[in-house]
Symmetry: C2
Subunit: 335 residues, 2 copies
């Protein structure tokens, strides 16, 4: 039986509908998911454009998937047909190495990405390892849960690891990741500042949880915040003025990067040593972290703000992401 998916035929091209065959048999630990919706992450754009030189075509993007399990492999025990589950960037790992043992599956050398070298979630069906399919708490609507699977866990990992409830936390960039970071940090009890180059985002940033909003091009406002933050989380993929951002971090504080900026981060050693500061990076999160994140989001009303379009308008949705017009996450409605 065939199903519909959308694929980029070559690097940078618009997506086109294609037909794929459902496999007659599943791997022993795999599940087949009837996709309900799928978020559009910036990583999808990087894959479409082959920015990371890991793409193969036709390329079916999509790694923020929510849907219902319709079939499962012979050895699947943790989920069953009919369960509503989510799948994020990672859809399998070896489950036997040090990293998997430590709950750091994203570091596994046998890490399998949901839409790299295999069809992703811009499609009616998706296959994933059942151990990477996470039941979605009932309180979370599918459209606002899908972006949590990649964007959400990407910011939840460093916030849950590094932010104390009494901390002052700054979030750089109020987009797909940032608008979730504001909600998570607020719910964790932090004092939250949103940094954006767009003054128009102030009201929404505050509604999403920011106590303060700062236009990051306002030099005077920025200078006044020197040595203020315990944690600054950069969610953007641009190359920023890193010494300036590090100067806003207070002693013993941390500048945390989760965005894939293409260039170098360069700061004076004395700024790092004298201020006893830290610069670090993380990617997505392990399975236990994703479960915690989903439960936390359900409990605290953390919701991705989704602009929903049907799957056949995928190129329009992608164009809005490319133009930074999404407020704040484009989500494709498949079923």
């Amino acid at each position: 039986m065939s199903f519909r998916a959308y694929a980029a035929p070559a690097a940078g091209k618009e997506l086109e509908p294609i037909q794929l065959e459902r496999p007659s048999e599943l791997g022993p630990f795999d599940v087949e998911i009837l996709v309900e919706c799928c978020g559009i992450c910036h990583s999808d754009i990087h894959l479409i454009d082959n920015d990371w030189r890991i793409s193969s075509y036709p390329l079916i993007p999509g790694h923020e998937v929510v849907g219902k399990i319709v079939r499962k492999g012979a050895l699947v025990q943790n989920v069953k047909e009919g369960d509503r589950v989510g799948v994020g960037w990672q859809c399998a790992s070896c489950l036997a190495c040090e990293w998997c043992e430590r709950g750091e599956e994203p570091a596994c050398d046998h890490h399998v990405a949901t839409c790299v070298g295999r069809p992703g979630g811009y499609a009616e069906y998706l296959i994933a390892d059942s151990r990477f399919a996470f039941p979605i708490p009932e309180a979370l609507p599918s459209e606002s849960a899908a972006p949590l699977l990649c964007g959400g866990i990407t910011v939840f990992t460093p916030l849950s690891r590094f932010a104390s409830p009494s901390d002052r936390v700054g979030v750089i960039g109020i987009g797909g990741l940032g608008h979730l970071a504001l909600q998570f940090a607020r719910a964790m009890g932090c004092e939250v500042t949103a940094f954006s180059t767009s003054p128009s985002k102030e009201a929404e940033a505050k509604r999403l949880g920011a106590h303060h909003f700062v236009v990051s091009t306002d030099e005077k406002a920025m200078k006044a915040l020197a040595n203020s933050f315990d944690l600054i989380l950069s969610t953007v993929t641009a190359d920023l003025n890193w010494p300036m951002w590090l100067s806003l971090v207070r002693k013993h504080g941390r500048l945390q990067l989760v965005g894939a900026s293409p260039g170098n981060i360069s700061v004076p050693v004395m700024q790092l040593v004298g201020g006893q500061k830290t610069i670090s990076g993380t990617i997505i999160g392990g399975r236990a972290g994703i479960r915690k994140m989903l439960a936390f989001a359900a409990r605290h009303g953390v919701r991705a703000q989704a602009e929903v379009l049907p799957l056949d308008r995928v190129n329009e949705a992608v164009a809005r992401v490319r133009a930074n017009q999404a407020r704040y996450r484009m989500v494709l409605k498949v079923q």
Copy 2:
């Protein structure tokens, strides 16, 4: 009553003997210490040369002091005349701010440095706040204890904070700090690798605790160590090839800087984010940390390897430090 000290009369000059007066009265929390010996730290050279633009002349260096308390202020309770104590880089702080409350006195805005704007330990007597004078465990000879007060705590702080006993730890630079780091890391149970540009240091590095010795200019040996270390501690003040060193750190690992390199540290953001790595800096350590470090050193036989010269040969000793000839710490014998 006057006493003898050695002072740089101007930036970069040789030290000359001068006479200072002992104060008739001490501050309520101060102690006067009859200096037994004082280590020569690279920071003393930076102060002599006014590299940090904080020096005033005549400048009496010295902040790795061990001696006996001969007099104490009216409110001193924690130490008494006759006690053998050590004083490091920091000799006072406000003891009332957040950082002092947290045991992070080096971050205190009212941090007072032992030999900045006041006479240091290249002298027969030293005045310090009693709360920054630490009893030296009996097992530690004064000459091998003095360098622990600055060099020792500088490497003990990050090792005790970030190294687990099962970690693989690399130490860059086998000098005043590095030769102590090897001993501490070994005593903490880590697998220890010494990195040096001097092949001649191999035998001593291994005697000091290194399991492995690598000549850091040996490109082949370095490449073979890619993604090997949980923690790499740089003790040098040179500007290194930081992306290369970060490539030796494994996933979730840390590159830790304690040396005051003058330039920038610049690494690809993708190396930091993709590898989930951390770069951080620390300076010296708080009071509780210094006490722990001294007890740990006494218990585990950690000893600074001192080349001892009498105080009046201070210029010869400084010249050996400038020429990187000290093996591994010059210590001035005062009494």
